[in-house]
Amino acid sequence: MAEKSGADILVETLLDLGVDTVFGYPGGAVLPIYDALYEHPKIKHILVRHEQAATHAAEGYARSTGKPGVVLVTSGPGATNAVTGITDALMDSIPMVVITGQVATNLIGTDAFQEADTVGITRHCTKHNYLVKKPSDLAQVVQEAFHIATQGRPGPVVIDIPKNVQVAAAEFSSNAARANTRYQPQTEGDFKAINAAAEMIMNAQAPVLYTGGGIINSGPKASETLRELAELMGCPVTSTLMGLGSFPATSDKWLGMLGMHGTFEANMAMNKADLVVCLGARFDDRITGRIDAFSPNSKKIHVDIDRSSINKTIRVDLPIIGDVGRVMEQLLAVMKGRRFTTPGYDEWWSRIKGWRATNCLEYPEDKEEIMPQEAIRRLWQATHEREPIITTEVGQHQMWAAQHFDFESPNKWLTSGGLGTMGYGLPAAIGAQLGNPDALVIDIAGEASIQMNIQELGTATQYRLPVKIFILNNEYMGMVRQWQELTYESRYSNSYSDSLPDFVKLAESYDWTGIRIEDPADLDAGIQKMIETDGPVLVDCRVAKLANCFPMIPSGAAHTEMLLTEADVRGTMDDQAKALV
């Protein structure tokens, strides 16, 4: 066997694993790896403008393609800047491998230049991490890292490689089988449990399917299986923010999203159901509202590949550990084997019809100002036939997009759910565009969030990526302002977006097309111009400044205590509610 440098071993192992795109930023401690990349044009390196953006771009790439995202950054500040995106990927279960440079092994612990304890810092925001001390370990570690990142519940894995390990040589042969046996998550559901689940479904009078991001992670086939299961069961379907797209919004079984900004009908159905089947979701606090009032009269089945998600916040009657796509297939087989006939659930559907009649997503009409919800609806009308990939930042615009942009298929909706990271949307759009060169990719943004990674305009320009940014500009950190209205008698402490740039000029300075829309009458034309313009486009859409996102379950409240309109807002909360995020 020939000897190769650690850097070459790394790059060749990445090639063996089918990696074609790496998001990164060079620096002193990764120079040997960058030099090896120079020799390997098969790996496309995307130079971002900030390491946080590299991680979000990798997330966008992963979420839209199903393949793991790969990040390469230097030691010290390179690694610490990546931490937010790594944590984001952990919370949202995104497969990602982050390679960080480290100072040479003999310098570790000496406070060397650009030294940071990367494995220490990332230990609890990764699924697993490594410090590689010998070049001969590299190939095995990299292969195991990809296995861990993609199998079971996906997540980020960090590989910290000291500079001398990149330079030193070890024996290496490409494609050598490096068996990994220590991480083997259970994917098949327990047969007894599947049978028990079928039994519970057959006895239900008012069942609801509560689906989540796990269905997307399981792959497009799981979304197909979900449609089949919902059809056979004849019951309503709701989804978390992360699961949107796994079930078509045009289906008559679709209730809309549930939770804090979910629909009235979805939350009421959860509250009144006698059976909740949770498929690849985790009973997050944004979903449950007040725990002791969550779906009080239902039996609960929870399908999850991560055992620690079971009984973490909500006690369930029947846990099934396994891949949600596989478990749904098993369940379908058992139900068909038992000749399950689809019930009418007439009484249940008539109650749902009553809840739907509240038209909870309606918003006041306005001829003077653009209502943000209206802007999203029009954006959807103008683009949905092209099945665009939508990314978002975090805040009101994100919730409006979730409520008013309807999805028909998975992997089209990329958003920061668990961590709620402002600045996610633009780099995620860049990653998604790279993974889907022909797709229409739109970042629905707010004027505050977009500024958190605005420097990535340059990345899109450099790689000629035709991403679109649609800013709902209300000159406020809108969700903060909304909570201040709900909780602190509208004392707007630091939630006004002062000193905003001229977004159109800013876009133009990066060689983007900039469009401003101010009048409701110009909305459709502006959107049309955005779609028809080649190359990247930024739209500064000025919307009603004080519009709020409803419906809403205020913190500490039950599903049945939704605020439907502005008229329900009291302006204060007790301390118990104030203490909740």
Partner: protein, 171 residues
Amino acid sequence: MHIDEETVERHVLAVLVDNEAGILARIAGMFTARGYNIDSLTVADISEDHAVSRITIATNGPPHVIEQIIAQLERLVPVHSVRDLTESGPHVQRELALVKVAGKGEHRIEAMRLADIYRARVVDATTESFVFEITGAPEKIETFVGLMREVGLVEVGRTGVVAIGRGPETA
């Protein structure tokens, strides 16, 4: 507003792990990151090839938290298995302590007498001090140390609990 407290139970967990760098930090850090308690933690490698370590963790929390602790431990890649010895039937718990007492006269005699009753061994002696070695269940050590406080306790070193299930099966 006041923060409610829940009633807690003590559990002893036996955790088999890959003997690799950072594993202790990974486990200890997981406990602090998620707000769990560690009463004691012992670790030593136990396999012939030094590849596997056994960590004994004494922890406390409400039952649903203990269940989460076990699930979260199992989620760590280098963790092979977790066994809740408190749940899985009869088991033996042992701890070793070194207890130093100083004093003269009646206190010194009383310390010797108590050590004899508790089957503590003298491992060091001067004319004005003893070091006792005592092995036993944590409660026994607790009681012995408590008694020594009254007769001139100077210093205590304790190993923390190691535990193993009774009978022929492995953890």
